[in-house]
Amino acid sequence: MRSEPSKTYDGLFYDGESAKAHEAVVRCSTTVIVVSEGANVLATWSYADLISPDPLSAGRRARLTHVSAPYARLVVEDRGFSECVLDRAPQLSKRAHNLQTLKLVMGCMAVAAVFAGIAFLLLTFAPRTVASVMPDEWRLSLGNQVIKTLVGKRKLCTGPAGLHALEAMRKRISAHEANPGQFQVLVYDLAIVNAFALPGGLIVISGKLIEAASGPEGVAGVLAHEMGHVIERDSETQLVRAMGISLLQQVMLGGGQISDSIGGVAGLLALLTYTREAERRADVHAQRIMQATGVQPDGLIKFFEFVKDKYGSKSDDDDGGSLLNLFSTHPGLDERIGKLKALPKWPSTPVINQTQWTDLKSICSSGTPKEEKKSPDSTTNG
C-alpha cells in the first residue's frame, strides 16, 4: 500500500459557498483528509462521514463530499487517492453500495407488503363501518339504482289483492323489529326463483319464488332471512367494498378516471353474494324473527326441501347459472334444513290466511285486478 500518512495528491475543491474552483493539495492521513490551498486549510474531513455520490472504485477518479459540508466537492484524478480513501472508508466501496441496494430492495418489499396489508384491512373492515353510518336517503337511492340494473325490463308485480296480502305478511313478520318501516318488499316478475336484500331496506322477491313455495310460511321465512341481511347492512357493505376496490385500482393505476364506478358496481351486482358468515347471521335473524312473530319454520323447511329436490343441494357450485345467489352461496341446504328441524317448536299461527295466500300467489299474474276481495289489511288470522 502506498498510503503513508504524508502522501499528498492534487485535486480540485469546491467549497459549496461559491462556484470557484480551488486548486488544492489533498492529504490522505490516517484519521482525516486534509484539503489545503497554499497555507489555507480548506477542509478537514473525517473518513466515517465521507460521502461518494457514486461508489468509489480503486484506481478511478474520486469525487467526494462530506456530511459536514454537503455542497462541498473534492475531485481527485490521481488513482492512488481512491485506493487510499477506500482503505479507510470502506463504506464508499462498491460492495458496501451493493449491500445498501439490497437493504433498500428489502425495505421496498416490506413497504409493498405493508401497503397490501393496509389495502386488505381497509377492504375487509372499513366497508361495514361506512355502510352503517351511511344516511338512509343515500342507501335508498343506492337501492333504487341497483333495482334498475337488476330487474331490467322485468315488471313489478302490482296485483292489488296480492299487494294487500304482501303488506299483511310484511307487517306481521316485521312487527317486533326496531324499525319495521325500513323494510320495503317488492315482487318482480323475474325469470328465476330468487330473493335479494338491497340497500335501503329494499327486498326483492321473484314471482317464481312465491309460486315455488308450498305455503305462505315458506315465503315468510325467506323474507325473514332477507330482513336479516337488511338489518346487518350486508348489501350496502358489499357495494361499498366493490366501489372501494375499483377506487383502489384507479388510485394504483394513477389517478385517471375515478368516476363511473356506479356503472361498474351495477355490473358487480352479479357478485352480490355474501360470505357464509353473513348468511349464517341472516339465518339467525330469520329464526329469531319467526320465533318472535309466531311463524312456523315448517314452511321454510318445506321450501328448502323443494329447492333441494329441484336443483340439488349443490350449495357451492354455481349451477350453470340456473340458480341464483340465494342458494348458490348460502350454507348447504342440508345444513340449513337440519338447523331448522332441530329448533324447538314454538306457538304459531298462520302468517297470512288462505285467501290472502291465494291473492299473493296471483300478484304477478293479474295485471288486471281480478275479484278484489276486501281483505282487511292486517288479518291476524286465527
Binding site: 470557484k20 433498500l104 430492495v105 418489499m109 413497504v111 366501489m243 394513477g254 375515478i258 364506478s261
Partner: protein
C-alpha cells in the same frame, strides 16, 4: 474603490470571466441500470421505481458537462417516494373520495356525475400547474454544478393560477392563444429560475412563433380531415364488400378482403397520418425550442439552439419505438437521446464569471415531485 473590490474578491486562483461550453459526454452503464431498475421494480411491486428513476437521473446528469465539469443530481429516491405518497394522501384520495361519495349520494344521476367530474377536472387543471412548477424547482435544487445548486424563486400557486386561466383561453380561441400561453408561461418560469444567487432571464414575445404555429394549426386540420376520409373510405369499402357478397350478413364475405383492409388501415393509414401529424408538430416545436433558447440568458451567457424539424422527428419517432418495443424498459435510453439532442444542439456563447457565483440561499424542498409524478408531466 480598488480596495473594496479587492476585499470582496475571493483569494486564491485569479478568477475572471471564462468562455462557456456545454457537452454531452456519454458514460457506460446505462443499459445495466435500465435492466436492474426493471427487475427491482418488478420484485418490489413498483416501489423501487423511485430509486431507479433517481439512479437514471444521476447517470444522465453526470454526462452533461458544463465547462468541463459535470452536473450532479443530488435528489434521492426517498424524496420522490414520499412526494408521491403525500400527493396520494392529500389529493388523489380526497378527490377519489369525493367522486365516490357523489356516486353513492346520487347513483345514476348523470348531471351530478358530470358536475363532480367537472369540479375534479378544474381542481386537476390548477394542480397540474402547481405540479409543473414544483417539479422544476425540485430538479433545479437537486442539480449541482461546482457545488452550487439552482432554484425557482417564485410561488408555485401564482404560476398555477396563470397556467389555469391561460389554459381556458385555448378552447375559446380555437388554440390560437397557444404560442402566447407557452411564451408567457415559459418567460415567467425562466425569469424565476436561479442558479446560485443569480437569475436567468427571458425576454421576447410570442409574435415570432405564429408563422410556425399557423403551419401546425392548418396541418392539424388537414390531418384530421385525412384521417376522417381514410377511415370513412375503409368503412365504406367494408360495407360494400359485405353488401356485394352477402346482403344477409357476414357469412359469405370475403374475409381476406376485410382483414387486408384492417391491415392497410392499421399498418399504413394510421402510421402515415400519425407521422404527418408528428411532422407538423415538429415544425412548431423545433421553432419554439430555438426561439425560447434565443430569448434566454444567464448573466452574460446567451443560449442558442439549433433544433431542426427533421432531426426532431427522428428523435421523437426513435424514442417512440424504443419505449414501445422494450415495453418501457429502455426508457432511460429515450431520455438519454433527448438530453443528448439538447446538449449537442445547444450553444452557449459569452463568458461567465464563475468565481462570482454564490450558493443559493433558497430553502430546499423536503420532498420530491409528487404532483408531477401523479400527472405524469414529463419523461424524467
Amino acid at each position: 474603490m480598488t480596495n473594496i473590490s479587492d476585499a470582496t474578491t475571493p483569494t486564491g486562483v485569479p478568477g475572471g470571466p471564462q468562455p462557456v461550453s456545454l457537452e454531452y459526454v456519454p458514460q457506460p452503464g446505462l443499459g445495466g441500470l435500465a435492466i436492474k431498475n426493471f427487475l427491482l421494480t418488478v420484485i418490489t411491486l413498483g416501489i423501487y421505481s423511485f430509486w431507479g428513476k433517481t439512479n437514471v437521473r444521476r447517470h444522465l446528469w453526470s454526462c452533461i458537462h458544463l465547462m468541463d465539469e459535470p452536473l450532479e443530481y443530488t435528489g434521492t429516491g426517498k424524496e420522490l417516494f414520499l412526494g408521491m405518497l403525500i400527493v396520494s394522501l392529500i389529493i388523489v384520495v380526497p378527490l377519489a373520495a369525493l367522486q365516490f361519495a357523489i356516486g353513492i349520494m346520487f347513483p345514476g344521476d348523470l348531471v351530478a356525475e358530470a358536475v363532480a367530474q367537472g369540479l375534479v377536472l378544474v381542481v386537476l387543471i390548477y394542480l397540474i400547474g402547481v405540479g409543473i412548477y414544483r417539479a422544476r424547482r425540485y430538479r433545479l435544487s437537486r442539480t449541482v454544478w461546482r457545488g452550487i445548486r439552482g432554484t425557482l424563486s417564485g410561488s408555485p400557486w401564482a404560476y398555477a393560477w396563470s397556467n389555469f386561466w391561460m389554459t381556458f383561453t385555448l378552447p375559446l380561441s380555437l388554440l390560437w392563444t397557444y404560442p402566447w400561453v407557452r411564451t408567457r408561461l415559459n418567460s415567467r418560469i425562466t425569469n424565476e429560475m436561479e442558479f446560485g444567487t443569480r437569475p436567468f432571464a427571458f425576454s421576447g414575445g410570442a409574435g415570432p412563433l405564429y408563422t410556425r404555429f399557423a403551419v401546425l394549426w392548418i396541418g392539424g386540420i388537414i390531418t384530421l380531415v385525412l384521417m376522417y376520409v381514410a377511415l370513412s373510405l375503409a368503412g365504406l369499402g367494408a360495407v360494400i364488400e359485405i353488401m356485394l357478397t352477402d346482403p344477409e350478413g357476414l357469412e359469405g364475405t370475403n374475409a381476406y378482403f376485410l382483414i387486408g383492409l384492417l391491415f392497410i388501415v392499421f399498418l399504413v393509414v394510421i402510421p402515415f397520418i400519425s407521422l404527418l401529424m408528428a411532422m407538423f408538430r415538429a415544425v412548431y416545436v423545433s421553432g419554439e425550442m430555438n426561439y425560447f433558447a434565443a430569448c434566454t440568458s444567464y448573466d452574460s451567457v446567451q443560449f442558442k439552439m439549433n433544433a431542426t424539424t427533421g432531426s426532431l422527428i427522428g428523435l421523437v419517432v426513435g424514442n417512440f419505438f424504443i419505449v414501445l418495443f422494450t415495453l418501457g424498459i429502455a426508457m432511460p435510453f429515450a431520455q438519454q437521446r433527448l438530453i443528448r439532442y439538447v446538449c449537442n444542439r445547444m450553444t452557449l456563447t459569452g463568458v461567465l464569471n464563475v468565481d462570482a457565483i454564490q450558493q443559493s440561499q433558497a430553502q430546499l424542498d423536503r420532498r420530491g415531485e409528487g404532483l408531477a409524478e401523479a400527472f405524469d408531466i414529463d419523461a424524467f
